[in-house]
């Protein structure tokens, strides 16, 4: 068997595959953050909590309303996204003229409230969400056993990431959005409802987080704290990619998944830190991030 640094090549392929899957997941979450920051200049610290709300909504929907997985994949992002719009209308809008720091504090506070409430109601152990029938089982590849559900996560995340990138960078609506953040007064003067677009954009970012939450529900135990641990990593991904860069968030997400995957094989103790090491190096060499435009 071919070996690389004492690791069989086949094992390495398996690890790269897993890295890619995790990377797609990071990409999906950091994409939502990048959209919100890139277009609204809000540092959305509630992103982890909104991801968790997505997973919880899927779980509770299944328990109390008989909502199946496929329906949840569509309904939950809409519901949580609508909640995001309410938050934007009632709270974020009032502080949009202030420094970014206030948005960060507000969303962080909201995250703590969401998390704390659910901890009080459901405890921290969480519950499991069954993998849908059609996606259970797995493929026996030559180098690993690949659970079908993970393959699905990879495909779904990549498709959604591409779709959002296309929407914002290649469509007329996206052009309005970008113009609206560049110069809101001017765009408003053209008869475009900028405040509505801002609300919808925040809603879209939140819906992406909720979508990731539904995708994650069958993978990890659904618990109120599931978002907070992921949030920091996702922020690091966004910083590495360049705050607000959409393509940067997607590509960096995938790359970080791969780097983390390799670390788990060669030096597992550092698996949780490697992304931050990369972040420090990137900030030293390119403070605006790999794909960032402004310093």
């Amino acid at each position: 068997m071919t070996m690389i640094f004492g690791i069989p090549l086949m094992v390495l392929f398996g690890q790269l595959m897993l890295g890619l899957i995790n990377g797609a997941f990071y990409a999906l979450l950091s994409l939502g953050l990048a959209v919100i920051f890139g277009l609204l200049r809000i540092i959305n610290f509630a992103h982890g909590a909104q991801y968790m709300l997505g997973a919880f909504a899927a779980l509770l929907g299944a328990q109390y309303l008989g909502l199946n997985y496929w329906a949840a994949l569509i309904v939950v992002p809409l519901v949580v996204g609508a909640l995001g719009i309410v938050v934007e209308r009632l709270l974020l809008r009032r502080i949009q003229h202030l420094d970014h720091l206030y948005g960060l504090l507000l969303t962080f506070g909201l995250a703590l409230i969401f998390e704390g409430t659910l901890v009080n109601l459901f405890g921290v152990s969480g519950s499991s969400y069954p993998i849908p029938e059609a996606l259970s089982g797995g493929f026996k590849l030559s180098f690993m056993f690949l659970p079908t559900y993970r393959a699905w996560v990879l495909v779904a995340a990549l498709v959604v990431c591409f779709g959002v990138w296309f929407l914002i960078e290649r469509t007329r609506l996206g052009a309005y959005l970008r113009a609206g953040t560049e110069n809101p007064e001017l765009v408003q003067a053209f008869g475009i409802n900028v405040p509505l677009m801002v609300s919808l954009t925040y809603g879209l970012g939140v819906a992406l987080a909720a979508f990731a939450g539904v995708l994650a529900a069958p993978l990890y135990p659904v618990s109120p704290t599931m978002g907070s641990s992921l949030l920091i990593v996702v922020f690091a991904v966004v910083v590495i990619g360049g705050m607000g860069s959409i393509l940067g968030a997607i590509l960096t997400g995938l790359a970080m998944g791969l780097i983390e995957g390799l670390t788990k094989v060669f030096y597992p103790e550092a698996a949780n830190t490697v992304i931050f090491v990369v972040m420090v190096m990137v900030l030293m060499l390119r403070p605006a991030g790999l794909f960032g435009k402004e310093a």
């Binding site: 094992v11 690890q15 897993l18 969480g126 069954p130 135990p221 618990s223 704290t225 597992p268």
Partner: protein
């Protein structure tokens, strides 16, 4: 910190209590004007008088009240195994005892240690200095317990550790001031690992949480596996906490070991088991061994994933009529069945209060001696004994998680395979590094 004691109670006990209360010039006292002081004088004299007469009747309970401080993780990873449920178990014990000892009220304080040794140690220091706390209960994360027991030894106050796993708490870190009640890493490794090796699971791959508790458990398991003729073919130390275990599970699959042992706890164990089930570890012929698994973990995993898992537990709600009856009462108050830690908190608090009542004292050495003399016989333990090193030795249970088809209800999850007698389960005193035993 959410201390539940009212400020007034503290002020009174500090100002009027006997020997060991130190008068502290608090900002509060500075705010009290001379006029108020004049008005309060007759009142406090009256209170002094009533306290004095009580003091004569009950010379040995220092401030006329028994205060129990409950310290645990109330909001983090370990919340569900002790947390608010443990506090309620403690309150049940106080209620069942009648709310007072020999006419002296029992007061319960509680605080969240957030799994931080600093926070825990400072809270306990405050409790002892300012509130005259007589006993500290709960104590979950091993790091917190080790820090707190040092303070208890310095300040000569009693502590009962119920949630922690590290066996070092009654080994190299033993003190005359604390007792370790429910379980520790020694019986976990010896109970589960030995049973599995005996059944032919002789090659192991270990997934270890990369911190003190994981290392300790890993060491214990390696020793047991090797001593019984098995081998450790590989291990990975994963960061604490980890949410995605797929990479480590893949490495475990690649190792060809018969048994994948999980030397971790809480959400790490739950995540590792969930991932293992998705990657078909069991279907491919390997078995999983969880070394520290609580009832709430199994409940979170669901039987579909957890079935067939063997583990060692200090107690289970469905052992006999007595455990079922108590658990039913607990269930009605908390809407879930108690974990072994929550049951242990109830049992140890009652045992403590009985010792206080019997000796009529809250002096640490007196109460600790009485607790050691009296066997523990309640819904938690059958003839449990507290050794000189502070270890409460009682029977442990090797259990197997039921298949979903065999389960009669949400919490009906274990089959007891074997009762491990206390004397066999815990580290023999002959091997102890505890100064109190070697001495």
């Amino acid at each position: 910190m959410h201390a539940t004691a009212s400020c007034n109670a503290t002020a009174t006990s500090n100002a009027t209590a006997t020997s060991n209360a130190t008068p502290v010039a608090s900002p509060l006292s500075r705010r009290i004007t001379a006029a108020t002081r004049r008005r309060l004088l007759p009142l406090s004299a009256l209170m002094m008088g009533s306290l004095l007469s009580a003091g004569i009747a009950q010379a040995d309970i220092s401030d006329g009240v028994i205060k129990i401080g409950y310290l645990a993780d109330m909001s983090g990873t370990y919340r569900d195994l002790a947390g608010p449920g443990g506090l309620d178990a403690l309150k049940m014990a106080v209620e069942d005892f009648g709310g007072s000892v020999n006419g002296m009220p029992i007061e319960v304080l509680s605080a969240d240690d957030r799994n931080s040794a600093d926070v825990g140690a400072n809270t306990v220091r405050g409790w002892i200095d300012q509130q005259n706390v007589d006993m500290v209960a709960g104590l979950v994360a091993s790091s917190v317990s080790i820090a707190v027991t040092r303070i208890l030894a310095e300040q000569d106050t009693l502590g009962i550790v119920s949630g922690s796993a590290a066996s070092s708490i009654t080994n190299e870190h033993c003190t005359p001031n604390h007792v370790h009640w429910v379980y520790d890493t020694y019986p976990l490794a010896h109970g589960t690992a030995k049973a599995i090796v005996d059944e032919g699971g002789d090659s192991w791959f270990l997934l270890t949480a990369d911190y003190a508790f994981g290392h300790a458990l890993e060491g214990d398991v390696e020793k047991v596996v090797n001593e019984n003729g098995g081998t450790i073919v590989g291990k990975v130390r994963h960061p604490f906490p980890t949410s995605d275990f797929s990479s480590y599970i893949l490495q475990a699959q690649g190792s060809g070991a018969k048994i994948v042992g999980l030397a971790n706890a809480g959400s790490d164990t739950v995540n590792a088991l969930t991932t293992a089930s998705q990657f078909g570890v069991v279907q491919a012929g390997q078995s999983l061994a969880g070394l520290l698994i609580f009832l709430n973990d199994v409940h979170a995993l669901g039987l579909e994933v957890a079935q067939g898992l063997q583990l060692t537990t200090g107690w289970y709600w469905d052992l006999n009529d007595e455990t079922r009856a108590w658990s039913q009462r607990y269930h009605e108050r908390n809407e879930r069945k108690p974990t072994m830690v929550q049951a242990g908190i109830y049992s140890s608090t009652l045992h403590y209060l009985n010792a206080v009542a019997a000796t009529g004292s809250d002096d640490t050495a007196t109460v600790r001696a009485k607790m050691g003399e009296t066997p523990v016989n309640d819904m938690f333990a059958n003839n449990g004994t507290i050794r000189a090193d502070g270890r409460m030795v009682h029977d442990m249970y090797l259990v197997k998680v039921k298949a979903p088809s065999d389960s009669q209800g949400e919490w009906d999850v274990y089959d007891v395979i074997r009762t491990i007698p206390g004397a066999e389960a815990y580290r023999p005193l002959a091997d102890s590094q505890c100064e109190l035993v070697k001495g």
